[in-house]
Symmetry: C2
Subunit: 140 residues, 2 copies
DNA sequence: CTGTGTGCAAAACGTTTGCATGCCT
DNA sequence: AGGCATGCAAACGTTTTGCACACAG
């Protein structure tokens, strides 16, 4: 769980500057379970800091990703999403509204067939469940 | 497994025309385990049918995807990949060379925690293992 | 013969980059 | 004061679209 404060500290360690723009982005990411795209982050921070540019949002997210503080999620064809929860966890994606939600709990532990381990060293894995959420079911 | 012939038949059923361009794309997809991008398909078919355009490749892949004859794989940030193997199966992705390979066998059966099934009806799932392949290990 | 498919060029889209100015440290 | 961060505009790579011509049915 990345608090804005912990990100500030990590930025200071690396001699990156703490600007109001970056601070705003940190706060938006803190505890964020929505898997926002860069645009989502931009829209939110624009309300607080209306002069911010897309460039700054992209660059800040890029730094955070390189630092390992957010994960880039490649689930959506159209745009990249970011997840401040960097612990191993998995996602359900609604094919109706494209909403991405976390799966709670450690119930999912896929393992590779033995033979593959001779040819491939896995470092992480990710499970995506595609389906329909309650809201979209009701709409049909 | 989609043979070119079976795709021809499905196109005929839907009154889509069979052109040499489409036929060439079908043949490239037949038994293809490389998870090609649109560009990969374009490069291959260009050798056989040099006047073909990107537009035709994109449109044909789009039709095939809407018909459910290929799956769009969203694993790579940079571009979309297509998989003519529409049976449930999973992938290993080398972080060194970005190669996507199939995992053989049905060893992987992730299940959702019970609680989630009240809120979400899964229709399919996909597991991605990220790691390093033999070739890339040897290079280091 | 009719209408769908093709291919060009241009647009669209999300994302990245170059550069002058601004501001954190 | 110095140098990194910002924000604009332009570039980028992939994908989509509009349209006139071609050709499969």
């Amino acid at each position: 769980m990345n608090t804005a404060d912990s990100l500030v500290e990590k930025f200071r360690d690396k001699r990156f500057k703490i600007t109001p723009q970056r601070m705003g982005i940190f706060k938006i990411l803190e505890g964020n379970l929505e898997h926002p795209s860069a645009e989502n982050v931009f829209d939110k921070i624009k309300k607080i800091y209306p002069t911010i540019s897309f460039t700054t949002v992209y660059k800040t997210l890029d730094i955070l990703e390189k630092m390992g503080e957010v994960l880039k999620i490649t689930i959506d064809d159209e745009r990249k999403h970011y997840d401040p929860n960097t612990a191993t966890h998995h996602h359900i994606i609604c094919l109706g509204c494209n909403k991405i939600s976390d799966i709670e709990g450690g119930h999912i532990n896929p393992t590779l067939p033995d033979g593959i381990l001779n040819e491939f060293i896995p470092s992480r894995y990710h499970v995506s469940f595609y389906g329909t959420c309650k809201d979209c079911l009701n709409e049909q």
